[in-house]
Subunit: 262 residues, 2 copies
């Protein structure tokens, strides 16, 4: 038998129920600590927490009121092409490096953080802003890796254990239906697990050598978070099978020159 | 609070250790039943089993010896373009409807089953064939949904519980690094969970309405299977949060006319 065959492997995910609604300025690490306490979850080395993008963005006040947005000529032309609100498109453009696809109902961009996604990851549902009259939209965190790192450090200090933190969001795919959870920020766990040099069961080099481990865990957590989004925005996981290490979301971003679909 | 906020949600994945090496003609459902027994896992309503594509393909004898393959002119031209073995490319073409991208080291096709993937999902590692001298490659199952259905029916009869079955494989993505687990066959669980009509926390219609639930669970299971592949090729999951129903892998395949990247 191969030495990788350990006697049973387990992955356990727990969505933290009754997580409070998050508002700008809230101390997210403290809210998570309290919620873990109330669930009697004691963090252990190797545990990973997955945070829904919305609660991180909200705690950081990443809200924009469309009523205060003046669309540029470029945004207006693009909005006509994809049949979206020109003010919304203006905000998307401000968060983007490049527009990759625009057709009715679809606006795919390269986000300023480097990854490809629809609408620059900007949400309109599950949003109430500072002013109930506003038409609020929610941007991604300014620096999701830094947001993860901040929560990681605070919770590690409180728990005395080394953990990983992921911010997840739901992205569409080029050629498959439906959205899946992906990592848009990471701290403390390999975004991309590199298996180069490992052999298969018959001692041939593995063909597939880089696993998007943080995306796979982000997908697993998404299943539990559901799409009501803010209802279950924090998932605790035990049993992530790769050793923790420093990392960055950028590991998951394919360089443009290797992107097979541009 | 939203009614979706239940008091805690859990997802538990268990990789079945010491699963035997699978050979052509093996009764896969029986091997799984025995392995579940030895792990003292009693199937319950709503449980989902994820099977690595390789063991399903092997049990169905989907092996091809490249020594017996004569590449066509088309395969030879394409092999030169993507710098792969012409015999391998010939087998890929036989399993494909269309070639979408070919460049050195990369061959992306539309598989005859409809989904887009590299090399038509054909593996070269972890393969021993009927003849140790052969250069064996392994094709996907002839009809993965039917393979799932067959295992599902057998295990349901044995356990007296309604379960779902997924065959997973690892696919690359267009614009993100690394592979992730996806579903290439399903039975008994929604491949695509349709949330249309649901409201968000603030009673606005959800923006995102179709979740690739089977892909998300396939990714979670992939984490445990690792890339040694055949070492941990069966994962049992409890807590899949969507109601079971009849389904087909084709739910996950985006119609060509909606594919943003062709």
């Amino acid at each position: 038998m191969n030495s990788d065959v350990t006697p049973g492997r387990f992955l356990q995910l727990t969505a933290l129920a009754n997580f409070p609604l998050v508002r700008a300025g809230d101390d997210l690490a403290e809210l998570i600590r309290q919620s873990l306490d109330s669930h009697r979850v004691r963090l252990e080395n190797g545990d990973v927490l997955i945070l829904a993008q919305k609660i991180v963005s909200k705690s950081e006040g990443r809200l924009v009121d469309l009523n205060g947005v003046k669309p540029s000529d470029r945004a207006q032309a693009l909005a006509a092409k994809c049949q979206k609100d020109p003010r919304f498109v203006e905000v998307v453009l401000r968060e983007s490096r490049a527009v990759l696809r625009a057709r009715p109902g679809l606006l795919v961009v390269e986000h300023r953080l480097g990854f490809v996604c629809a609408n620059a990851g900007i949400d309109r549902s599950n949003i109430t802003g500072k002013d109930a009259e506003g038409e609020w939209v929610l941007l991604l965190p300014e620096d999701p890796d830094a947001s993860c790192r901040s929560v990681q450090i605070r919770l590690q200090q409180a728990a005395g254990a080394e953990i990983g933190v992921i911010i997840n969001d739901s992205h569409g795919r080029a050629w498959r239906n439906g959205i899946v959870g992906v990592a848009v920020g990471v701290a403390g766990l390999p975004a991309l697990a590199d298996l180069r040099g490992r052999m298969d069961l018959f001692d041939y080099p593995l063909q597939i050598t880089q696993v998007a481990a943080a995306d796979e865990l982000a997908s697993a957590a998404s299943l539990l978070m559901g799409q009501a989004g803010e209802g279950l925005p924090v998932v605790h996981t035990r049993g992530f099978p790769y050793p923790l290490r420093e990392s960055a979301m950028s590991e998951l971003i394919r360089p443009k020159e290797q992107d097979a679909f541009r």
